[in-house]
Amino acid sequence: MMRKVKTTFFVLVFVLVGGLLHYVLPQHDIVRITSTEVIRTDFSAINRLFYAQADSGSAELGTRDLRLIYTEKKRTFLLGFIARDARQVMVYRNEDTGWIWPPYFKFDSSDLQAQAAAVSTSDGENWAVMTHYGWRNKYLSIYPNAIGIRAVDGPDVQIIPWFNIFFFIFAVVAFFFLRAMWRQFLERAVDPAVQSMGERVDAVGDAVSEKHGRLRRWLDTWRK
């Protein structure tokens, strides 16, 4: 029973943390930018969470215009690790994240939109590497947020996710550091205190275990 609870707990934590990281960490798509557009958006209580705020210098209202970038992206397997030939359309929003969340400190949405428009109207096939975070969900009407656009000559680009590499190295180091801190705390602060208390507890211990035994026997009567 205890093990099932534990397993469930860890699976839940893994899914939640994994989901959060998948949403927030930057990803790179190889796309063909086809056009750009602005639509008016009325947020609902459900999808408000998946949008950033108004441009950093502007007032926040319930309704505002939203910049969109229309693309055709190359599909991949395994979060972009395995390239494929298949393509699919993808729509990105383009919003300032400002000083808040997620911490991209992006203020140049208009410039990014101009850049997207420039790529989409250039000669050739308009290939670009789109850096973004977030999810596309048709039922919630949410879009990944574009962070950066880099025009490239063709779809065969090797992308190395430097930020994510350093992020995960840092996460592992931080985990072991925290664990070392916690163990040091237990060893130096908690154990000595418990030990000195132990002698006093021992005296009371017998009485408690006697009582505990009786409680236990009473509880076990329910089983029969």
Partner: protein, 90 residues
């Protein structure tokens, strides 16, 4: 307004981190000194000398460069935030 909020909460979080790391670092140093005393004077029962040795070592630690290095906890995230901002905006 957003910047003020970021600085305020960032300072709070980093201060907690700074505090935890300094306590940890001092604790590790004290433990090392205790071990070294035990190795160098395996049969000593002189508690006062042991105490003095450890306090001396802690004084050297406190006036050394290492506690100052922990201030990097404030510097490094500031640089990272600035770098991310510059990389996404320019």
């Amino acid at each position: 307004m957003g910047l003020i909020r970021l600085v305020f909460f960032g300072f709070l979080v980093l201060s907690v981190t700074y505090f935890l790391i300094s306590v940890y670092s001092r604790s590790v140093r004290r433990e090392k000194l205790e071990y070294r005393w035990g190795e160098e004077n395996p049969d000593s029962k002189d508690q006062a000398a042991r105490e003095a040795f450890i306090e001396q070592g802690m004084h050297e630690y406190n006036t050394g460069i290492r506690p100052r290095l922990i201030l990097l906890v404030y510097v490094v995230p500031t640089i990272i935030v600035a770098a991310i901002h510059v990389l996404t905006t320019y």
